[in-house]
Amino acid sequence: MPADPRTAFAHRRRRGAELFLLLLALAVGIGAYAAVGLGVEGTTPTDIIGYGGWLVLLVVAAHVTVRFTAPYADPVLLPVVAALNGLGLAMIHRIDLAELEQNTEANTFARDQLIWMTLGVLVFVAVLVLLRDHRRLQAFTYTSGLAAVVLLLLPLLPVIGREINGARIWINIGPMSFQPGEVAKVLLVVFFAGYLVLHRDALALAGRRVLGIDLPRGRDLGPILGMWLVSLGILVFQRDLGSSLLFFGLFLVMLYVATERPGWLLLGGTLFAVGAYFAYLVMPHVKARVGAWIDPFGTEYDSYQIVQGMYGQAWGGLVGRGLGQGDPTLIPFSYSDFIVAAIGEELGLTGVMAVILLYGLIVERGLRTALVARDAFGKLVAAGLAVVFALQVFVVIGGVTKLIPLTGLTTPFMSYGGSSLIANWAIIALLLRISDQARRPLPDLSGPADDDATAVVMIR
C-alpha cells in the first residue's frame, strides 16, 4: 500500500531496549567480578559495591548521553561494548590476583584499566556531544591523514619513542606510555573515507580490462602504493606486524567498498603477498613468528607464549575451569594480547564463543550502519570502522588460537591498554553518531503531491 519506502520503513528509537541490554551487560561485568572473588578468595570481593557502582555510573553516563545526543542510534553497540569491557576488567583483575599470590610486589593493572575505561567513556561522551554531524569530519580529510602519519612516526623519534618487547610503537608522555597507532587508525579511516568519496569514480571507472579483471589506471595507483609503502615502513622500522596488516587491510577493503571493483582486492592481495614474502625472507622477527606458528612445539623458534596459550585453552575445554580456578599467569602477557587465552582457560570454549559472537555483533552493527547511512562519507566511515574492528579482532584472536601467525595487537575493549581502550570508545561513539543520522526519520519534505497524478474519471 505505501509505495514510498521512506515512509514505509522508519526505525524506532529503541533506547528502552538499550537500557535493558545495558542492565544485562552490567550483570555480565559485575557478575564476572563477583565470580572472580568467589573463585579466588571464596567470598565476594569487599569493594564490589564501589566497583559495581563505578561501572553503573559509567554506563548510565554513556546511556544518558546517547539518549540526549543520538536518540535514534543503534541500541546494541553500547551494551555489547560495556559487557566486553566489564568482562575484560574482571579478567585483568583476576590475573592481578594470581600475580599477587605469587609475588606481593607484582604490578597490578585492573585499577589502571578502570581509569582508562573512565577516560574512554569521557571520550565517548565528548565525541557524541561535540560532533553533532559526522559529515563535518569530511572537512578534515587531509588534516587527519597528516595527523595519522605524524602519529605513526612519533614512536620513531629518539626521545619520546620507546621500544617494548621488540616493537617500537610506544611514546612516553610523562609517566604514561601511549600507542599512537591506535588513534591513527581512527584518523586513517576518516582520511580514506574523505579521499575515496571524492576519487572513487576515477578509481572505479578509468582503467582497462586485463584477463577479465578491471585494472585501474597507473596514476590512480599512487595512493594505494603509498599506503603499501607506509604499511611496509611500519613493518620494517617499528617491527609491528599487526598494525601493518591492519592498516593495509583497512585500506584495501575501503577501496573495494568505495569502488565495488574486485580488481583492487586482487591487486592488493598480490601486493600483500609479495610484501609478506619479502618480509619473511629479509626480517628475522617475521620469520620467527611464522616459524613459531607452523611448528609451535619445535625448538627452533621461541613459541613459549603460543604453546602456553594453547595449553591453557585446552585445559579450559568446553566450559572452562571457572573464573578464579584456572592458572592464567602461566601464559605470558595474559592480561593484554593473550587475554582471550585466559578467557578460554577460565570460561572455556563456551565463553570464548560468546566473546567472539559479541565482537561479531559489533562488526555487524557497524556494517548495518554503513548500509543504512544516507551519505557516502558516512557509509565509508562506518564500513571502515567496522572493518578495522573486525581485522583487529581477527588478527589477535586468530593469532592466539594459532589460526594465523601471532602478531601483536590488542583485543579491543578487553586487553589492558589505555590507548586502545580510548580509541575504541571513540570508534563506538563515531558509529553511534553515524547510525543516529542514518536511522533518524527523514523530515517530511514531500509537500503536496503533484496534481498530474490524479486519475481522471472517464465520462461517456
Binding site: 505505501p2 515512509t7 514505509a8 520503513f9 522508519a10 526505525h11 524506532r12 529503541r14 531496549a17 535493558f20 541490554l21 544485562l24 551487560a25 550483570a27 555480565v28 557478575g31 564476572a32 565470580a35 568467589l38 573463585g39 571464596g42 541500541p75 546494541v76 551494551p79 555489547v80 559487557a83 568482562l87 566450559v319 572452562g320 575451569r321 571457572g322 573464573l323 580456578q325 570460561l347 572455556g348 563456551t350 565463553g351 560468546a354 559472537l357 559479541l358 555483533l361 555487524e364 552493527r365 517530511d444 514531500s446 509537500g447 503536496p448 503531491a449 503533484d450 496534481d451 497524478a453 490524479t454 486519475a455 481522471v456 474519471v457
Partner: protein
C-alpha cells in the same frame, strides 16, 4: 567454597553471558522486523489517543446551537469509517499532505474541495478539482450549502456531515 558451588557459579556465569548474547541478538532481530510501517495499528491507536487527549484539553469552541453538525464522516472509499471534527473548520479535502481530510484515493486531487462555515450554515466548495465534487448527483460549480446527512462524493469517496 565447595566444588559444587564453584561449578554452579561457573555455569551460572556462562548462562548470564549467553543470555546477554541472545538478548542482544533478539534486539537486533526485532530491530529488523520491528521497523514500523507508518500507521501500524499500534501507531494509529497512539495517534488516536493523542488526538483524543488534545481534544479533551482544548477549550470548547463557541457553543454551536443544538442540532448543528459536529463532524464529517467518511462513508465509502479507502478512508471509510474515519470521522473528522468540524472544530478546525474550514477543512481542506484532498490528497495532499496539507489537507485536513486527507483521502487516499487516486481520483482525488491534491487540493480538491473545502468545507467552511458561514454563520450557521456549512458550505462545500470545489477547488477546481480534476474530477469534480458531487452533492447528490449534481457536480458543484459554486459553493453549495451542506445539510446534515447530505452526501458529498469526491472521487471514490463519499462523506457527509453528522451531529
Amino acid at each position: 567454597m565447595s566444588e559444587l558451588t564453584l561449578m554452579l557459579i561457573r555455569f551460572a556465569y556462562l548462562a548470564i553471558l549467553w543470555i546477554f548474547v541472545l538478548s542482544a541478538i533478539s534486539v537486533i532481530r526485532s530491530d529488523m522486523f520491528g521497523a514500523r510501517i507508518e500507521q501500524t495499528p499500534r501507531a494509529e491507536r497512539r495517534e488516536q489517543r493523542r488526538a483524543q487527549k488534545t481534544q479533551r484539553n482544548r477549550p470548547k469552541p463557541a457553543k454551536r446551537p443544538r442540532g448543528a453538525p459536529t463532524h464529517v464522516a467518511i462513508l465509502e472509499g479507502a478512508n471509510a469509517g474515519e470521522t473528522i471534527s468540524l472544530d478546525d473548520a474550514p477543512l481542506l479535502i484532498g490528497r495532499g499532505s496539507d489537507a485536513a481530510i486527507r483521502l487516499d484515493d487516486d481520483y482525488v486531487s491534491t487540493r480538491h474541495a473545502r468545507i467552511a462555515a458561514s454563520g450557521d450554515q456549512w458550505f462545500i466548495e470545489d477547488l477546481g478539482s480534476t474530477n469534480g465534487t458531487y452533492l447528490g448527483s449534481q457536480r458543484l460549480t459554486q459553493p453549495a450549502s451542506l445539510q446534515l446527512g447530505s452526501q458529498v462524493r469526491i472521487g471514490k469517496t463519499t462523506l457527509e456531515l453528522r451531529k
